[in-house]
Amino acid sequence: MTLPDYRFISAPLWLVTILHLLTLTLHLAAMSCLLGGTLIALWAGVRKQWSAPDAAGLARVLPAATAATVSLGVAPLLFLQLVYPRQVYAATIVSGWFWLAVIGAVIMAYYAFYRTSFQAHRTGQVSLGLLALAALGLLYTSLVYSSVFALAEQPDLLRALYAKDQSGWVWNPALGAYGLRWLHVVLGALTVGGFFVSVLGRKSPAMAATGRAAFVGGMAAAAAMGFLYLVSLDTYLGPYMRTPAMPVLLLALALALAALHLHSRKRFGLSGLCLFLSLLGMVYLRHVLRLVRLRGSFDLAAWRIAPQWSPFLLFLVCFILMLVVLVWMARLFFRSEPDA
């Protein structure tokens, strides 16, 4: 009996790539609101810039932002594992304990957010200690993600590290390959978090000002860090420049600036849309860079494509239904008044 071969992709690659990039952008948007919002709340708390109700208002939405970040993070990781299993699993195994500890770090952050949220609801005060604990958990998680996924793009280093140590306690030593990238992600989160805080606290001058400052400052710093990261690509820079990356980079930058401009005009909806599209552009750039770094060891075109259309259609219907139900529930929740 000939057994089925599992080495195939069950939809055209372009479709999987679109889904991956789109869901990853959604995840990063939620993550950036969460991480950036937390860092900004900590900063404002330490400097006593906000009133207690303002701080409590932000604290109360952080558990929801965590839920959104976690649940939106599942799909992009699934699509990533579908297309790049050899790279992703290998890197996570070599750093196994650090990777697994992400679960503990996020659980810790999640409970810290809930605790802060309940405390804010009960007493009107926000615990900076709990916020700091949550921020630590999130920063650890983002650092591990940067480290592991950078390692996934360095097959030779991966093999060499494994040959020396099989215990799962290997931390990616090539800091140059992901340190700047991680800082870029954190600064990007600060940018999006600044936008989020300024919109959430638009009725509070202090909160809006802090959010705006983080939005503008974060964007400038993230752009500078992104430029440094680009320069640090060294031998990859040339091949990267010869991809469609550059026009997309310029477009993403233009969208980011448009977001700033629209934000200053208080057109938050359009500003948010520009920011999201800019983030989508950055995610695309990341995708192209991965392919450039993997050249010679991995070829996307080598995948056998064997579409499973009926399960895909089921997913598509459920995905659309999910969006409809989410919007409908939000309307139900925010428009409904309690019974007298």
């Binding site: 057994l3 699934l78 699993y89 996570t92 239904l321 529930m329």
Partner: protein, 503 residues
């Protein structure tokens, strides 16, 4: 074989169990608990029962904390762990079922959003809107089970998929429906157990008695559904799988028997609670009841996982990641060419990929103590006849040279002094040790492969002669390679076994 091997000391089974067992409890509770909340809210609102509404609001807070945080993240945790422990199987599952998982994700997102809105909505939205959110939560959570159940059951009974590779044939496999009913029953049962735990902290009185009776009723109904579905589930598994497990896996069989006893105890206590409806029902009793339920479910899950042995994907991939389809290539070229990540120590690499998925040297399913006293020739025979040993192990599919490398690797790490020197024993005690080492790996006393009866009436000379020709007695029987002192003691012990264990 295309992945590095995570060589951690805890053991794969233990690590998986720690995260999976916790998640399985929480995830089933998340579904049943949602149903419990919304049904009771409906009844309470209909009856204007404010005490019950207050109770449910309190219940929902802990429920949200457990399901939203621990439930959701340990679910992701399982995914992380299977990718670390069994990357090849995870890859195979994702390639076949990515749209199943993606569909499950859409339900997961709705479930999480609805749970949050339900929890925050008690005093914020209308009663009707709140109930609607509750029902959306429950339906999304249950649909998530509907999807994941297809992938989970596929691993044990892939059915026609092995021939056609068709998504739906693998998804709606022979155990899909019984498992779905069984797990739905478990959800209801766990919801009842949890409600009992919360109810146990209420002030003694009529309300408490009513709540205890109702919650115990949920537990009993859930258990009854589960019990019926479990029988159906067992029958849906191909007979050769269950027969093989009953014959070669005494521990798993004991887990099944234990689960039946626990289910009976659970049912009896539940029925007693429904009848007596105590006005006083302490937290300790509720916790004990909860522990009983979890022990039962844990025993069931353990036996289910064991039934799959020697495979991780039945008929398709062995527990150590070796692919059935590549058997000929393994036999011809060996494992080593397939191992992408090498360390320079071929014996260690082969040991990791062939054995370490299940065994550690000193921890879970430890090899070092069990192989103490073995000589290299016997170790080689064990490696080459692994599939014949107790415990439903996968066959070693590599070349004879590779089997030798594993035997060398083990020999260098085990104590090969005579058994008498290792354990400081002699006589029958030494014979028993020799039996455990050289015979019990297959013919454990009291199991289906116990050959004690065939030894009845045989003289010491007969038994010694049998040891001389051991390698010709049956497929995979190794030659006797122990020393003379152990042989003498072993013969004496075999004689006692032939006499029903009486020296």
């Amino acid at each position: 074989m295309h992945y590095p091997f995570w060589d951690q000391p805890i053991g794969y089974g233990v690590l998986m169990a720690v995260i999976a067992v916790f998640h399985v409890f929480v995830s089933h509770f998340a579904i049943g608990g949602g149903l419990y909340l919304v049904v009771n809210e409906h009844l309470a609102r209909r009856d204007g029962d404010t005490a019950r509404l207050a109770f449910l609001e309190k219940l929902s807070k802990f429920f949200a904390m457990v399901t939203l945080v621990a439930g959701a993240l340990t679910g992701v945790g399982i995914w992380f762990v299977i990718g670390l422990l069994a990357p090849a199987a995870t890859e195979a599952l994702i390639h076949n079922y990515v749209w199943g998982w993606a569909t499950e994700w859409t339900f997961f997102v709705v479930e999480i959003a609805a749970a949050m809105l339900y929890f925050y909505g008690w005093k914020r939205v209308t009663a009707k809107a709140h109930l609607t959110l509750g029902w959306i939560y429950f339906v999304a959570a249950w649909l998530s089970l509907v999807v994941i159940n297809g992938i989970l059951t596929f691993m044990l009974t892939p059915g026609r998929w092995l021939v056609t590779g068709d998504f739906w044939q693998g998804f709606f496999n022979p155990t899909y429906w019984p498992s779905l009913v069984l797990r739905t029953g478990v959800c209801v049962m766990l919801a009842g157990l949890y409600a009992l735990l919360v109810a146990s902290r209420l002030a003694a009185g009529d309300f408490k008695a009513r709540t205890v009776r109702q919650a115990a009723g949920w537990a009993v109904v859930g258990l009854a559904v589960t019990a019926l579905a479990q029988a159906w589930y067992w029958k849906a598994i191909p007979a050769e799988v269950t027969a093989r497990a009953l014959e070669t896996m005494p521990t798993s069989v004991r887990a099944i028997v234990l689960s039946l006893w626990l289910a009976a105890a659970l049912g009896a206590v539940g029925v007693a609670l429904v009848i007596l409806a105590p006005r006083r029902f302490g937290t300790a009793a509720a916790l004990a009841f909860m522990a009983l339920g979890m022990a039962w479910f844990g025993a069931f899950e353990w036996s289910r996982e064991s039934l799959r042995k020697p495979y991780i994907l039945t008929g398709y991939m062995y527990g150590n990641g070796a692919e059935v389809a590549l058997t000929a290539a393994y036999r011809r070229d060996g494992f080593l060419p397939q191992i992408t990540f090498r360390t320079g120590d071929d014996g260690a690499d082969l040991f990791r990929h062939a054995c370490r998925s299940c065994h550690t040297l000193d921890g879970y399913k430890a090899l070092r103590p069990g192989l103490a006293g073995a000589d290299r020739a016997y170790l080689l025979a064990l490696v080459q006849g692994a599939h014949l040993l107790r415990g439903n192990m996968p066959p070693f599919l590599g070349t004879p040279r590779e089997a030798g490398l594993i035997a060398d690797h083990l020999y260098q790490r085990t104590d090969h002094r005579p058994l008498g020197a290792i354990y400081q024993v002699e006589g029958l005690a030494l014979g028993r040790r020799a039996y455990d080492l050289r015979c019990g790996k297959c013919h454990a006393v009291g199991t289906a492969s116990d050959k004690a009866k065939s030894l009845a009436g045989q003289s010491a000379e007969d038994l010694s002669g049998m040891l001389d020709m051991a390698s010709s007695l049956g497929e995979g029987m190794p030659a006797y390679t122990g020393d003379a002192a152990e042989r003498k003691a072993l013969v004496a012990y075999l004689q006692t076994l032939g006499q029903g264990g009486k020296p």
